[in-house]
């Protein structure tokens, strides 16, 4: 089983690496770059929200901070177009992480419900700042970034593609490490019952803040690369409420708190979103279709694809094992819902 998994993962990696060589059409690779960017962002978002159960709906703030940090650094330091802006990515992520420390500290003083609303409010504050701090952000006119014009034609997307892929693998590595470490176990304990976790000696406050900052770091890098890829930024685009909700929606579609769920969600939804915005760019239709898609996903697949599939897989396996205790096992699985993303929705007395 392990070797199967390993071979599968390596094959998947090879396919991802070979993708821009096989499908070199710029229209296709552009969608691929956006998809990988969103996959990175959802993975990073899931490191915080998926593992701790605290749903943050303000990560577009860190996306925007990263984007603006990138644009301002390129502008002030006269960074030439080409490969050198890629080197600034960690710095842009770091700036986003630095901003996330005070914001995270303030918002994490509250519990789950209020936390969600406060993150939304924080996001709007940051958006307002982008409009108002004209001396830094140039107000609603926005900033432009250097455009690597020597990469014209088919090659243009390729450096972006591989840089994003590296970022995704890094984020995935961190996510995997968190999931399998004692630290991550503490986070899952917070998700299931925060007070009990605190009583058992989990340093809840610092753990939550640390993962919050980690996820802001990656989202900031995504924002920076997104800005460089698109070439110009302005407040409404860098601080987009749709981005916040898209991260949550993609993660929910794939499976909250699972390793591969967020990526799967991004793989399905981001190309769909790109397609819809191309096909129905006329105002109105796009929002309606996206909204209906939203409702359909949430009402039909609230648990997410990966948890649903793994539940069926465990049931199927238990039923076909042929051992004498198989039915009992299937029953246990049916009852206990033995999936990694078992959510804590009932812990708040919401739906007892």
């Amino acid at each position: 089983m392990r070797t199967f998994k390993l071979i599968g993962l390596i094959a998947l990696l090879i396919v991802t690496i070979a993708f821009p060589q096989v499908f070199s059409n710029p229209a296709t690779t552009t969608v691929a770059v956006f998809t990988l960017l969103y996959a990175t962002a959802t993975t990073a978002w899931n490191i915080f929200s998926g593992y701790t159960g605290y749903i943050a709906l303000g990560h577009a703030a860190y996306f925007g901070v990263g984007a603006y940090a990138m644009a301002i650094m390129c502008q002030d330091w006269h960074v030439p177009a080409g490969y050198s802006p890629f080197l600034l990515l960690p710095l842009a992520g770091l700036i986003a992480a630095l901003i996330a420390i005070p914001l995270g500290w303030i918002s994490l003083r509250t519990r789950k419900h209020t936390f969600v609303v406060i993150t939304i409010a924080m996001f709007f504050i940051m958006q307002l700042m982008a409009y108002n701090l004209r001396s830094i952000t140039n107000g609603s006119t926005g900033l432009s970034l250097p455009i690597p014009s020597e990469w014209g034609g088919y090659f243009f997307n390729v450096p972006f593609y591989y840089t994003t892929l590296v970022m995704l693998l890094l984020a995935l590595g961190v996510s995997w490490w968190v999931r399998n470490s004692k630290f991550g176990l503490g986070l899952l304990a917070i998700r299931d019952d925060e007070d009990r976790a605190l009583g058992l000696g989990v340093r809840t406050s610092s753990s939550k803040l640390i993962v919050f900052v980690i996820s802001a770091f990656f989202v900031g890098m995504v924002g920076a690369l997104h800005a460089y890829f698109v070439g110009s930024i302005f407040p409404a685009f860098a601080f987009d409420p749709l981005f916040d909700v898209a991260l949550a929606l993609m993660t929910f579609l794939g499976g909250l708190g699972t390793l591969s769920g967020p990526i799967l969600g991004a793989l399905i939804l981001e190309p769909a979103q790109q397609y819809f915005s191309l096909q129905f760019s006329q105002h109105g239709y796009y929002q309606i279709i996206y909204g209906i898609l939203f409702l359909a996903i949430i009402l039909l697949l609230p648990e997410g694809i990966i948890p649903t599939l793994s539940k069926y897989w465990l049931k199927w396996k238990a039923a076909h094992d042929g051992t004498k205790n198989a039915p009992a096992l299937a029953e246990v699985i049916g009852q206990e819902n033995l999936i990694p993303a078992k959510s804590s929705g009932t812990k708040d007395g919401v739906n007892p």
Partner: protein, 291 residues
């Protein structure tokens, strides 16, 4: 000095209208534990309904509320039944996503029907004004404030003087216990949602008469409404009222005495300060272990 007094007066008058919209939001949160981020879009929808009634049928804005509020009440009940009730797990977060999707659909639909051109509700009392010293105050601000106070008074009577109000407040305190003593919590939830949406429609009419709006205006509105209900403490009606008045007074005073650009920022900064000292807002309950 004159400027500050003017700011306080307009702040209180517009604050009353925001209190109307925010009370719907905080009531829904208190009873159902869900956050209706579609409230802004519903306000805009209400404003457009008044706009249609006035443009097509020549019905007065305030009289039109007798038609729009029941329609929006039924719409709210329908939304609750169709999209909120089916959510069984992770209600809070899924409800945010669902109501955001509803907001998107409303925004898109309004964009199709009315385009994104900016409109403003017109009526005789929108353009006429009182004169106080050398400061002019449009009639609509005063009428809108009176309307808000009447509706909030009605809400108070509904909550504290009727049997339904008892059921609602019981559901707010403890959903499970309310169910155990025989309260039909689902029915209470549906009606609460409807009331919240109807209040949004009334607020939308006044908003549309005092501000130019288009289908995208709801982002601006919902950000303010969310800030108001956090500031006042989630689920607290009194908090929502005081926070709306406070927010709009601070905003209008800053706008007149300093600069309109920084008006909202000052309030947001105040919010952050309050959250550092008092994470549950001014009148919020301590959120703790509720099992």
């Amino acid at each position: 000095m004159q400027l500050i007094v003017n700011g306080i007066i307009t702040g209180i008058l517009t604050g009353g209208v925001y209190a109307l919209m925010a009370s719907g939001l905080t009531l829904i949160f208190g009873v159902m534990d869900i956050i209706n981020v579609g409230q802004g879009a519903l306000v805009i929808l209400g404003a457009y309904l008044s706009y249609v009634l006035q443009q097509k049928f020549n019905i007065d804005l305030f009289l039109g509320l007798l038609i729009t509020m029941p329609i929006m009440f039924l719409f709210g009940v329908l939304l609750e039944w169709a999209f909120i009730r089916p959510l069984k797990r992770d209600r809070t977060i899924l409800s945010i996503l669902v109501t955001f999707a509803i907001a998107l659909i409303i925004e898109g639909g309004l964009g199709l029907a009315f385009t994104t051109n900016i409109v403003k509700l017109q009526a005789p009392y929108v353009d006429t004004s009182f004169q106080i010293g050398d400061f002019y105050l449009a009639h609509i601000y005063v009428y809108g404030f009176i309307l808000s106070m009447v509706l909030l008074g009605g809400l108070y009577v509904l909550l504290y003087r009727t049997k339904f109000g008892y059921s609602l407040r019981a559901s707010m305190q403890d959903r499970t216990a309310a169910q155990l003593i025989g309260i039909d919590v689902e029915r209470v939830s549906a009606i609460t949602f409807g009331v919240g949406v109807a209040l949004a429609a009334a607020g939308g009419m006044v908003y549309g008469a005092t501000n130019a709006f288009n289908p995208n205006s709801h982002y601006d509105l919902i950000s303010r409404l969310l800030v108001i209900i956090i500031f006042g403490g989630m689920g607290s009606l009194r908090g929502a009222l005081i926070a709306s008045l406070g927010m709009l007074v601070i905003e209008d005073v800053t706008a007149l005495a300093w600069s309109p650009v920084w008006a909202t920022t000052v309030f947001f900064t105040l919010l952050v300060v309050v959250l550092v000292v008092r994470p549950r807002g001014l009148f919020g309950q301590i959120e703790g272990r509720k099992q």
